[in-house]
């Protein structure tokens, strides 16, 4: 039966054999990946490698959000879009590539910009969301919606020679053994002044820099979905939330720092979570005019 998440077909055993052989995955782990629904918001430099590795690993349902079209200037870093697809909707171009990679999985296209009108209902259909967007307003929007939808958020960002990675809102609800994880707004309650923001278009970006963060986002997603993979890491994160910094310039090129936990008076974790809607929240006003939220 197609789409069955209680067993695997012979060709799935073959395809995923090299990861299923690991005790941290096994049959139960592969079925957990197959059952999982993961949303990727933004199909640019971060979303491209993240989508490729998650599709290859056999995530059963992958949602793809982007309202942009493929441009020639994307191609030096957005490796799932080809030159032949210039001008095509990014969700369609991505779907074409991911389908060629793995026909066993379900791809759901969301060919629109995420906004305060559609964000919550889009995220509510998924188990994990990856924020692969590229400006402050959408980053607050995705995080707020993840808090309301109660799903973990894998956050990545990059510019020029540097990248940053964080797993937020994880767990989305406090458990017996772990406090609720901080959201983006817990960490950064106020947006940066508009004049201090550089986008990849303005500041430039190296492909492998954003690529390495995108691949690590796929890895963090798999760790959320496969509990056996995070035992050790969990233990050492009791002190706070890890934040990974990459710099192509420096040696060592990676640095891991410890961030605060959830903030008691966080607007998203309290008011928004209780109200269960973003519809009256003005992201443009909040972040200033340089980052209108309707442009992903």
């Amino acid at each position: 039966e197609p789409g069955c998440t209680r067993s695997l077909k012979v060709q799935e055993y073959k395809r995923y054999g090299r990861q299923m052989i690991m005790p941290e995955v096994g049959l139960s782990g592969q079925l957990a990946l197959k059952k999982a629904r993961v949303l990727i918001v933004g199909l640019g430099g971060l979303g491209s490698p993240a989508a490729a590795y998650l599709a290859a690993a056999g995530i059963g349902t992958i949602g793809l959000v982007d309202g942009d079209k493929v441009e020639l200037s994307n191609l030096h870093r957005q490796i799932i879009h080809t030159a032949d697809n210039e001008g095509m909707e990014k969700v369609d171009s991505a779907r074409k590539f991911l389908h060629s990679l793995n026909k066993e999985i379900k791809l759901v296209a969301h060919p629109y910009h995420l906004s305060s009108k559609n964000a919550v209902e889009t995220l509510e259909e998924y188990d994990v969301v990856l924020d692969c967007t590229d400006r402050p307003a959408t980053r607050y929007l995705v995080s707020d919606a993840a808090v309301i939808a109660k799903i973990p958020l894998v956050h990545g960002s990059a510019l020029q020679t540097e990248g940053q990675l964080m797993v937020l809102n994880n767990p989305p609800i406090a458990t017996a053994s772990k406090k609720k994880g901080p959201c983006y707004r817990c960490i950064w309650p106020k947006p940066p002044p508009p004049q201090s923001i550089l986008t990849c278009g303005e500041g430039g970006i190296l492909g492998p820099v954003v690529g390495v963060i995108g691949v690590l986002m796929a890895m963090e997603t798999m760790k959320i979905l496969l509990p056996a993979l995070r035992t050790n890491a969990d233990e050492s994160t009791r002190k706070g939330t890890p934040f990974l910094l990459y710099s192509a310039y420096l040696n060592p090129s990676f640095k891991s720092v410890t961030m605060r936990g959830a903030r008691e008076n966080c607007l998203a974790c309290t008011t928004m979570a209780n109200g269960r809607t973003l519809k009256n929240y003005g992201y443009d006003t909040f972040c200033g005019l340089s980052c209108p939220v309707n442009i992903l």
Binding site: G45, Q164, I205
Partner: protein, 111 residues
């Protein structure tokens, strides 16, 4: 006397900038500084002192609001003391110790 001699010895620390903030500080990512160990009022040198000190003495760019707004580090800049968020350490009130490493990182938004 004791206070003076301590202050004369100085407080060696390392300050690093990342995520584009280095552009405001002569495009140099790592700075070794020696601060007085007590401020003008005789209090131990803390993070509030350091932030003022950086604006007054180390910043090479005139755009102070790219680093400081309302007398504190602007929103979107993380401050890490020995690799931990300064919110875990007391923020401005944290008293600097010998060889502390303070990292200012601008949050990135690109993707």
């Amino acid at each position: 006397m004791d206070t003076d001699s301590k202050s004369a010895q100085g407080l060696p620390i390392v300050v690093e900038f990342s995520g584009g903030l280095e552009l405001l500080f002569s495009n140099q990512r790592k700075h070794k500084l020696s601060l007085p160990s007590r401020d003008g009022k005789g209090h131990a040198t803390n993070m509030a002192y350091l932030v003022r000190y950086l604006c007054d003495n180390l910043m090479s760019d005139a755009r102070q609001d790219m680093f400081v707004v309302d007398d504190t580090v602007r929103p979107g800049v993380l401050v890490l003391i020995n690799d931990a968020d300064w919110e875990l350490e007391g923020e401005h009130q944290y008293e600097l110790k010998k060889n502390d490493n303070v990292l200012f990182v601008s949050t990135l938004h690109g993707g």
